[in-house]
């Protein structure tokens, strides 16, 4: 069987498993499934930035932009769910586009710290400005409700909301997968591998890096909207540096080389994280040890272990798989 058909098979099995989840699991695991789906969307959109060779600390705050946008629109103006979804994505993309002008002048570690500074400043402003609910954030966000030709669905129910999230996330994943197969995905890879080379064959690298940053932000915005409805509240603390660190850790531990790797990595890690619960106060330390072990023994992430199954690119692995953070500055 060709790798392509195997991976399609794996995808179908995964989706089927997800669809069946609420039928076999209680509310706790169904809601947990919603969280996994949102995290997978965050990870796979983060991977678009990583493809261009950068690590960003701003992605989680851009998710927050989507969440705040949706919360304000639905609470103040009563917009329906699909409209807030689009608005959240658009607002995140807009903020990312503005940020990209200063940030994309930087690379590597400078970009990482620059993205942190910009994101943290935005987050502190949310806490400072009463319009965004100040330190308390925004709460009592009404769950989506569908009333169509006699059928009414209350997405406040865990199972219903899980299916809604799953549908949105799968659509987003398909869109991202399609983009990566298209020419633009190849260009992003080219930029990561050899910036100078890419420019010499006529690729204006900054334009494409900007495009990647903005597109990734739009998907993060969608993940933010989903998050806002899932928990009915938005607080600035949810988008702090800690969460940005964990996003980065997960994408590295899971691996960012293949599209499937990041999805599987997200699922495996969330489940793993949950199973660590017994360790209570010692949980972060266990996490740290795993992180160190993965970096030492599987520097390309756990997806390497899965690669034979899902059939990622079979090319010989590059030496410098993880993009360099040498302190270069454009």
């Amino acid at each position: 069987m060709r790798p392509r058909s195997i991976s399609t098979g794996v995808a179908i099995v995964l989706i089927a498993a997800a669809v069946l989840l609420p039928l076999v699991a209680g509310d706790y695991f169904t809601a947990f499934g919603t969280e996994i789906a949102i995290t997978v969307l965050m990870l796979s959109s983060y991977r678009i930035i990583v493809l261009t060779g950068e690590w960003s600390f701003a992605h989680v705050v851009l998710q927050g932009v989507g969440a705040y946008t949706a919360a304000i629109l639905v609470k103040d103006l009563g917009w329906p769910f699909p409209a807030t979804l689009a608005a959240g994505a658009a607002m995140s993309a807009l903020v990312a586009a503005i940020l990209s002008y200063p940030l994309l002048r930087m690379k590597g570690f400078y970009f990482l710290m620059g993205s942190f500074a910009a994101a943290e400043a935005i987050r502190l402003l949310w806490r400072k400005i009463p319009f965004f609910g100040g330190t308390r954030g925004l709460s009592n966000i009404p769950a989506p409700y569908l009333e169509l030709g006699g059928v009414s669905i209350d997405f406040g129910h865990t199972t219903n909301y899980f299916y809604l999230t799953l549908t949105v996330v799968i659509c987003c994943l398909l869109l991202m997968w399609w983009m990566e197969q298209a020419r633009i995905g190849g260009i992003w890879r080219a930029i990561q591998q050899q910036d100078v080379l890419a420019q010499s064959i006529g690729i204006e690298s900054r334009t494409y890096r900007r495009l990647a940053f903005v597109i990734a932000a739009a998907f993060a915005g969608i993940a933010g909207v989903l998050l806002a409805y899932a928990f009915g509240s938005v607080t600035a603390n949810r988008f702090s540096l800690n969460f940005a660190l964990y996003l980065m850790i997960w994408s590295i531990v899971g691996g960012t080389r293949t599209f499937y790797g990041v999805v599987l990595g997200g699922v495996v890690l969330m489940v793993f994280d949950e199973s660590l619960r017994f360790a209570e106060e010692l949980r972060p330390g266990v996490y740290g040890l795993i992180l160190i072990a993965v970096m030492l023994f599987f520097p390309q992430g756990l997806e390497r272990l899965l690669a034979p199954i899902v059939g990622g690119p079979t090319k010989a692995p590059r030496r410098d798989v993880v993009p360099s953070t040498r302190s270069e500055n454009a």
């Binding site: 690590w55 200063p102 002048r105 930087m106 570690f109 400078y110 710290m113 620059g114 500074a117 910009a118 943290e120 400043a121 502190l124 402003l125 806490r127 400072k128 100078v196 540096l241 660190l245 980065m248 850790i249 590295i252 106060e281 010692l282 949980r283 972060p284 330390g285 266990v286 996490y287 740290g288 040890l289 795993i290 992180l291 160190i292 970096m295 030492l296 520097p299 030496r319 410098d320 993880v322 993009p323 360099s324 953070t325 040498r326 302190s327 270069e328 500055n329 454009a330």
Partner: protein, 288 residues
């Protein structure tokens, strides 16, 4: 008038505290190109060791301080040999393992001393220097003096010794330095031990005047990163100057306006430096 002088005294103290942490971070970045996110936790470990040795083992504060430096230097050596050396070709890998080390050290502190214990270190210099209505506690004065001495010593070490020459050579061009016969491995261990030891010393010095907790390193590391970016990544002198400028600015803004504004302004300054002056105050322009 009172508030102005108070604020100047506060700025001096804040500058010393920031510089003590930032110089080690700048050093290890300069030599090894490693962004050590666990540096704040080394500072935390320094404070814990100082507490443990001076209270549980009942030794003097100064022997506790020495133990703190030795212990953190040891952790530094282990980090270099066990982690950074094996990830030389993978800079992001180094950054990630430092986050792993950060989590492990924090958890170790929770496990070692509990989360709710109050750990107090007695200063060998109680009381305060009082001039008219101003008060400067002796221990704070001691920290400021110790910081100045340590910074002078480090500058001398980097400028006037063979070790310093090797460190500067490595910071400029690792391959060329290696061709000159400099042992990359040895210098890296020495630099990492020195950097970690400085963090430990900072933790030990600050232990009697801050609250010792497993999470005390987190806010410190962010300030330290802002400062070394302002100073020019990898430049120890730049880190010292930037520490003074940033801490003074921050202290004045938080006194006269408010500390959230100061935090936002600090982040904006860092962003501006990154955009308009990417090599910082003292950094060299890096080649691509």
């Amino acid at each position: 008038m009172q508030i102005l002088i108070d604020t100047l005294l506060n700025s001096a103290m804040a500058s010393a505290a920031t510089a003590l942490v930032a110089i080690g971070l700048a050093l290890v970045f300069g030599v090894m190109r490693v962004e050590n996110f666990a540096h704040g936790e080394l500072y935390m470990v320094g404070a814990y060791v100082t507490w443990y040795v001076s209270t549980d083992l009942q030794l003097t504060y100064f022997s506790a301080l020495v133990c703190a430096v030795l212990f953190t230097a040891l952790i530094g050596a282990v980090m270099e040999v066990a982690l950074f050396r094996r990830l030389r070709s993978n800079p992001v890998g180094c950054l990630i393992v430092t986050i792993g080390v950060l989590l492990v050290l924090q958890t170790a502190a929770v496990w070692f001393a509990g989360i709710n214990r109050t750990l107090l270190v007695e200063s060998p210099f109680p009381g305060a220097l009082r001039v008219s209505s101003f008060a400067l506690p002796w221990h704070r004065l001691f920290v400021i003096v110790a910081a100045i001495v340590l910074m002078l010593a480090l500058t001398w070490l980097l400028r006037r010794t063979m070790f310093g020459w090797a460190v500067r050579a490595m910071a400029q061009d690792r391959e060329a330095a290696s061709l000159q016969g400099i042992s990359i491995g040895k210098i890296s261990i020495a630099a990492m031990m020195l950097s970690a030891g400085l963090a430990g010393a900072a933790g030990g010095l600050m232990a009697p005047i801050v609250r010792i907790s497993p999470f005390m390193g987190q806010p410190v590391i962010i300030t330290a990163f802002i400062v070394i970016i302002m100073g020019g990544l990898g430049s120890v002198e730049g880190a010292i100057i930037a520490s003074i400028l940033y801490s003074t600015f921050f202290t004045f803004v938080s006194t006269y306006i408010d500390s959230t504004v100061a935090a936002i302004a600090g982040l904006c300054i860092m962003l501006a430096v990154l955009i308009f002056m990417p090599s910082g105050l003292m950094g060299r322009t890096e080649k691509v």
